[in-house]
Symmetry: C2
Subunit: 315 residues, 2 copies
């Protein structure tokens, strides 16, 4: 059997036909154009799904289900997207709307959760029953897989590790709370701290790497400076890894998954990030006398959304 996975994003709708192993057979995409009302957007999702199935030369009756991953909070049971601010979707009946066009079971899930499922089925956590996937981007996204299934709590609104406070009364978070992990471990946070340091230390390599133009600072800047021996760069990297480790150690103490998968652009730093990170996480776990989770880099990249959404329908 095959599965349709739809990655519904604020910019593009990506649709893929996925096999039992989580491999994409055929994929396609179209702009979301969020200025439109939801019936038009969902119609595009359905039409593109039918096109992808046709292009793959697969019969519709060999497709088992449709899965949709999107930002925001889904009502998984009723197939309703309760809200997704950047899509301007509020209580959108995604399942019912899709089924106007295609008579298949429709599953919905949060994008960070389906990314975790993708890593679990076909990526860095392949073959493992329990894993946690953390994505370090604009925010800190997270998904938990337990017994091979996404864990999302009673209201399908879990898990949001990015909004776990690690510093009471700390940095302001976009969610309204203070001191969330996201406010320290996201790429956004690293950029914020790098800009602050560049302003305070105009003599530093951090500043020189962007020719004094702080708007050019990105999540690589501090790492680049640190690799070249810059003291400020190194402090920034040390501090970033420390906060990242604090949150990861919390996830270990809470979930004890077989593996923690981390994704997002900052993971391109490879062992320069991972080696100290593994050490710092281990030091912060409450016990040292038993096997502990490994930390691995995500493998699914941009396909995570399609594959994870598709796998929502797999038994």
């Amino acid at each position: 059997m095959y599965y349709i996975g739809i990655d519904l994003g604020g910019t593009n709708i990506a649709v893929g036909l996925v096999d039992e192993e989580g491999k994409i057979i055929k994929k396609d995409s179209t702009p979301t154009r969020t200025e439109r009302e939801y019936p038009e957007i969902v119609k595009d999702m359905a039409m593109l799904s039918l096109k992808v199935i046709k292009d793959a030369g697969v019969d519709l009756k060999d497709v088992k289900s449709i899965g949709i991953g999107s930002p925001g909070t889904p009502d998984e049971k009723n197939g309703i997207l309760v809200y997704a601010n950047n899509l301007r979707f509020y209580n959108v009946p995604l399942r019912a709307e899709m089924q106007k066009y295609i008579d298949l079971p429709v599953y919905i899930g949060n994008d960070a959760n389906v990314a975790a499922l993708a890593e679990s089925v076909a990526g860095a956590a392949k073959g493992l029953q329990n894993s946690v996937t953390i994505t370090l981007g604009t925010g800190v996204g997270g998904g938990v897989v337990i017994n091979g299934k996404v864990y999302s709590g009673f209201n399908s609104a879990a898990s949001e590790p990015g909004h776990m406070t690690i510093v009471v009364d700390g940095e302001q978070c976009t969610c309204g709370r203070k001191g969330c992990w996201e406010a320290y471990a996201s790429a956004t946070a690293l950029i914020r701290e790098t800009r602050k340091a560049a302003k305070e230390h105009p003599e530093s390599l951090v500043n020189k790497l962007v020719d004094g133009d702080l708007s050019k600072i990105d999540a690589k800047t501090a790492f680049d400076a640190s690799r070249q021996g810059d003291k400020i760069g190194q402090q920034l990297v040390d501090q970033y890894i420390k906060y990242l480790a604090e949150g990861l150690a919390n996830m270990v103490n809470l979930f004890m998954p077989e593996v923690i998968v981390i994704g997002g652009g900052v993971c391109k730093e490879g062992e320069y990030l991972l080696a100290p990170l593994r050490k710092m996480v281990r030091e912060r776990v409450y016990t040292q006398e038993i096997p502990l989770p490994d930390i691995k880099v995500a493998q699914m990249g941009n396909d995570a959304g399609i594959v994870g959404a598709a796998m929502l329908g797999k038994d």
Copy 2:
């Protein structure tokens, strides 16, 4: 069918015969006497189990299993207690040792986890599939029930919410880490802060309530002073509830259980604790637009260990 539940503590071994609904039919206890080697202690556990079954007038063939809850970290799969410092147990083969005396399946679990299972089967979370139980005592214990079963991760060492850092570089925790929730929300932490305040403010009611003898301060002292309008007492209570709320909100954002159950002596403060706590937790949850978990007080009291251990064997 019936189930034997054994609450193996540092002071006493409590054994109960429990029915399908989690009700104790018969119970008994004997001192643990941890100065002894484990074969003697386990023999006592077995003999007391047989006695309880006999005293209850139940036939051994109507007993389905034996469950043992203990402090420390179990290897649930192999029935080995990997370590429990206060019992001086290291890699003790509890299952094999018990089965020398009684030919029944033997399950083992961490005491905080079985307490959570007890609340789930017969207590404040009865009838709910997903719950989190937090016990505020010397430390902060925690257990997570998912789909009616204890969640303990791949190594049976989860979940330890008490060792989730909420203040990076904060108060020293007994686990070696800094800023753990336990170092702010345990009864021990509240007593520490109350003593500190009493010392700094000898004029406060906190100080008068113990006749200036700081060793008499317990987890009630700050609440008693606060109820009587003492400013220092109120500050202590406000601060305690805030840190408690920060950790509980993390648990909500991470697990979204149907209910969070809180136990331990401090819960005797009732609505004086719970009303502000519910409000502060809610404010800290990342979303307000969906149903959120309720917070309830634990109901199982001292029976939690027996009932939860017994229910480890229930399908």
